[in-house]
């Protein structure tokens, strides 16, 4: 197989199949937002620091600005749009609302995906584990306290 500057990829995003031709240089976050029109995942810093672009790729939490779209060929991707069903917030989202875990909301999609990944792996995390779990996500409004409380409350 030789190197190519673009290729056709197939991905499953939140249960829906997409097939698109993408340039090799295209970041996964740009593919998700601009090619698929799923703008829930945010671009905060573009440098891999802030975590606003966090999504799950085959169940693994990643920053989608530090991955190429071509690398996700064949993958199952979960974004914040997949959390609510039939217009109803899921338990985690509702907990964020109940505990005022957001102010401007820009970091929230990434926070929700990091918390989703954490709670799947550890159903009742300690405060320390929650803080470690969202370490890759920067929030400039809340001081994290209410985010930690919301995640604690969402733990079944």
């Amino acid at each position: 197989m030789d190197a190519v500057s673009s290729r056709t990829i197939t991905v499953d995003v939140n249960g829906e199949q997409y097939e698109r031709e993408v340039e090799a240089r295209r970041l996964l976050i740009h593919f998700i937002r601009d090619d698929l029109g799923l703008t829930g995942s945010h671009i905060g810093c573009d440098t891999g620091n802030c975590g606003a672009c966090s999504v799950l790729v085959d169940g693994v939490l990643v920053k989608s600005c530090m991955m190429l779209a071509v690398q996700a060929d064949g993958a199952k991707i979960e974004t914040v749009e997949g959390l609510a069903s039939e217009g109803e917030l899921n338990g985690l989202q509702q907990a964020f609302s109940d505990h005022h875990a957001l102010q401007c909301g820009y970091c929230t999609p990434g926070m929700l995906m990091s918390a989703t990944a954490l709670l799947r792996q550890n159903a009742s995390p300690s405060e320390e584990e929650i803080r470690k779990g969202i370490q890759g996500n920067i929030c400039r409004c809340t001081g994290y306290v209410n985010i930690v409380e919301a995640i604690k409350a969402a733990a079944p």
């Binding site: 573009d46 530090m66 190429l68 470690k132």
Partner: protein
């Protein structure tokens, strides 16, 4: 940010990867991409071809040999190492991998990528020198083994040359290891880090972030005076930046050396 145009290949075999890497001077191996993709955004690196190693299963995984040696595939992620039961044969490995960056980066970043990028602030170069690791490098001419101490050649430069691939890292058994750092924020980039290993008789002390390559020292003993003398005797000439002056880095090197040795000694 828009990356410069680049070609992409995802070989299905190591031989195919070597062919692709060798066929173009501008080809670079893409491991976890947690450094490379970022430096491509800043255009500090602009490879012509990315050879994605993601499908090379033989480069991933951790095996514990009957003699206690760990063989860690270059594409093994930090998270793999943190969660591996086998890797606990050398507990310091998982402990240090668990303090690199954050969950997302640990999920994709690899041990091979960390050492091959050889950023002087990375955690693993000094650690792997301290534990006496051996790197296996594969090229068109065959396979060779390089001790970690000879692997790191300069800033961003290693013994794995153009057209070659680091395939695995072998770590001998041991447990009397310590790692101490002052990072920028918890689990952030290190200002200075020091790894110490007391297995195998002579204490080994390796300082990161103070030179182009990890600085390996062999103090006469683990006594405080001997450790301090060893660090002072190295005449470190560390860089200065917004985070620390050269003097402060020299000070940290000495203090962290003592802490790393104390941590290692606590495990005897």
């Amino acid at each position: 940010m828009l990356l410069r145009e680049v070609e992409y290949a995802r070989p299905a075999s190591v031989q195919e990867a070597l062919r692709l890497l060798g066929s173009n001077d501008g080809a670079r191996a893409l491991a976890g991409g947690q450094t490379l993709i970022n430096v491509m955004k800043a255009r500090a690196a602009s490879p012509d071809v990315l050879v994605d190693l993601a499908d090379l299963g033989e480069l991933r995984g951790i095996e514990l040999g009957s003699d206690g040696t760990l063989e860690i595939g270059a594409m093994t992620t930090y998270t793999d190492i943190v969660e591996s039961a086998e890797a606990r044969a050398r507990p310091i490995l998982g402990e240090v991998c668990n303090q690199i960056a954050d969950v997302q980066v640990r999920n994709r970043g690899t041990i091979g990528g960390n050492v091959c990028s050889n950023d002087p602030t990375n955690h693993l170069p000094p650690l792997l020198v301290a534990v006496g690791a051996t790197m296996t490098i594969l090229g068109q001419g065959g396979e060779r083994s390089v001790p970690a101490q000879e692997f790191f050649l300069g800033v961003y430069m290693t013994a794995a040359g153009p057209g070659e691939l680091l395939t695995k890292i072998s770590v001998p058994p041991g447990k009397s290891d310590g790692f101490a750092s002052v990072p920028i924020g918890r689990d952030g980039t290190c200002i200075v880090n020091v790894a110490a290993s007391l297995d195998g008789g002579t204490p080994r002390l390796v300082i990161g972030c103070v030179d182009a390559v990890p600085v390996a020292l062999m103090p006469d003993s683990v006594e405080e005076d001997a450790v301090r003398a060893s660090v002072r005797g190295a005449n470190l000439d560390p860089p200065a930046d917004v985070h620390a002056t050269a003097d402060y880095r020299r000070h940290l090197a000495e203090v962290l050396a003592l802490r790393a040795v104390a941590l290692a000694a606590g495990r005897n």
